[in-house]
């Protein structure tokens, strides 16, 4: 995969040197912000779909505190903080508003951005995302609680390739695990207040229970729902044909036509 970014850099936001990449050219349309999954990097989460997404729009991909190229700092990982960091980075880049595509944990961040910075958000895609921990299969939470830095070889290798301090991998694993396990959930009224059209996506064998995805679909005032068959959490972003077609149709639809 040769994903050549047209621009990369770091922005100083909230005490963090936050890494970003810009792909594709500015064609005058709305940029799409990609938010990677927990433990991962831009490339691990979006390597398969990024080139196609960047063909028709400007794509801004970021890496959150302690992830990928962005070094950790002395504070816990926190979904509200990561939403604020992302908003600050976009303001730093002069982005007034954008569409957002958050995968897994970062779908939680995307919802957080819509709740805390609604003026930034035009449309949202959240994939493999829970809005509280009742939405996860209990065995996944149990698995997470016992996750060891040594269990995740593929993710560790991707981290080590790009991280400013590769030895920090165990810290990242500990912080993401705590973040996910301790997540108290977004308030239902805050979710109901989101006015941005939102595409809720899961795999039919995801870490998120299908009932929970239906609940999010119902809570959001302008949502559409996609469940991909024969698809678990890890393979969700490998379903590039369906993802690109569904996301492309959703993002290209004139806003007033979204339910």
């Amino acid at each position: 995969m040769t994903n050549v970014a047209s621009q990369t850099g770091y922005a100083s936001v909230n005490g963090l040197d936050m890494y970003y990449e810009i792909h594709g050219s500015d064609q005058g349309g709305v940029p799409l912000v990609l938010l990677h999954g927990g433990f991962t990097t831009i490339d691990v989460s979006f390597g398969k779909v990024l080139p196609s997404l960047a063909r028709s729009r400007r794509v801004i991909a970021v890496e959150q505190q302690a992830h990928g190229h962005t070094a950790d700092i002395a504070r816990p990982l926190d979904f509200e903080q990561m939403a604020d960091d992302t908003a600050a980075l976009l303001r730093h880049l002069g982005v007034e508003n954008a569409d957002f595509f958050g995968f897994s944990d970062s779908g939680i961040i995307a919802l957080g951005i819509a709740i805390r910075h609604p003026e930034l958000v035009l449309k949202l895609v959240v994939a493999g995302t829970n809005f509280n921990n009742d939405g996860l299969y209990p065995e996944f939470l149990e698995f997470l609680e016992h996750a060891s830095p040594d269990d995740m070889g593929r993710l560790r290798d991707a981290y080590t390739r790009v991280a400013p301090k590769p030895d920090d991998w165990p810290t990242l694993v500990a912080k993401v695990t705590e973040l996910a396990v301790e997540f108290e959930g977004w308030r239902l009224d805050d979710l109901r207040s989101i006015t941005a059209p939102t595409l809720v996506m899961i795999g039919d064998a995801d870490i998120v229970r299908p009932e929970h995805a239906v609940e999010l679909f119902r809570l959001l005032s302008r949502a559409t729902l996609a469940v991909l068959p024969d698809t678990d959490h890890v393979t969700l972003l490998d379903r590039d044909d369906w993802l690109l077609s569904m996301i492309g149709e959703f993002l290209d639809m004139p806003e007033q036509e979204v339910e």
Binding site: D204, A205, I207, T224, A226, D230, H233, M246
Partner: protein, 270 residues
């Protein structure tokens, strides 16, 4: 339909002359249409599926080329008619793709004639009345034969029906079927052994909660990353209405083809 002319015929089953048409070649796939529809009204999915398998489209009592008979329309009877048609055609076992009304028939086919169904794709269907949005039933009460004038389905009916004057009877019988409370035991769905893919649109007549319930009864609703992928699959198509499901060939055809072409699971797994 732009493919080579299908092989068509009528099978004498249970006092009915039941119409069928066969497209393509390969492993048989039985196609069960929705209410008021014909095989031809099932849209672009049919020729696409017929490129990789034999598609056997049937038309239920009172629908399309199949004349009405002096009996009500019931899911059980239509399933039995379909089973008898398969025997007439000497099809021992087939995959099934079924939509809406046909979806209900396909569930009864799998319940009443389990040996005939290899794999099942059931789109936009319910197994109890609570599975549909309540406003559906209010809408059904208001249906009149005149409402169909000028619609593609009615034009197709007029073109192929042996007794086009029978359309009001079809409307009356379908309304009676749709307004009769449907209450199939969850155990009957759980007992379906054929690997099944449940499909709806996110704005379908079938509520998404009901599709998830059906998916769970059929063995779905597990975290595949830890438990392995189950034999049941669920597809919810975004920004898609009940009628719109059959227009989503670009998504449906690869989803259904991958599901049907995957190896059969070992007995007892999933």
């Amino acid at each position: 339909m732009t493919d080579a002319a299908p092989q068509t015929g009528y099978a004498p089953v249970n006092g009915l002359d039941m119409y069928y048409e066969i497209h393509g070649a390969g492993r048989p796939l039985l196609l069960l249409h929705g209410a008021y529809m014909t095989v031809g009204a099932m849209g672009p999915v049919v020729p696409a599926l017929a490129e990789t398998r034999q598609v056997i489209g049937v038309e239920f009592q009172g629908h399309g080329h199949t004349a009405d008979a002096d009996r009500p329309l019931t899911y059980e009877q239509m399933a039995d008619d379909t089973a008898a048609l398969m025997k007439h055609l000497e099809i021992e076992e087939a995959d099934v793709f079924a939509y809406s009304l046909g979806g209900g028939v396909s569930l009864q086919l799998a319940i009443r004639h389990p040996g005939l169904v290899r794999k099942l794709v059931v789109a936009s269907a319910t197994f109890n009345s609570g599975g549909a949005h309540p406003e559906m039933f209010e809408m059904i009460e208001t249906i009149t034969p005149e409402m169909f004038e000028g619609s593609p389905w009615k034009e197709e009916y007029d073109r192929v029906a042996p007794n086009p004057g029978d359309f009001p009877t079809l409307v009356e019988k379908l309304k009676r079927l749709d307004l009769t409370p449907q209450d199939w035991p969850p155990e009957s769905i759980r007992g379906i052994a054929a690997p099944t893919m449940v499909v709806i649109g996110d704005s379908d007549a079938t509520r998404p909660e009901h599709a998830v319930e059906m998916f769970r009864l059929l063995g779905g609703g597990v975290m595949g990353d830890l438990a392995g992928l189950p034999n049941a699959q669920l597809a919810v198509l975004p920004a898609t209405t009940h009628v719109g499901v059959m227009e989503r060939a670009d998504w449906l055809v690869p989803m259904v083809t991958a599901f049907l072409d995957a190896p059969m699971p070992e007995a007892g797994s999933g």
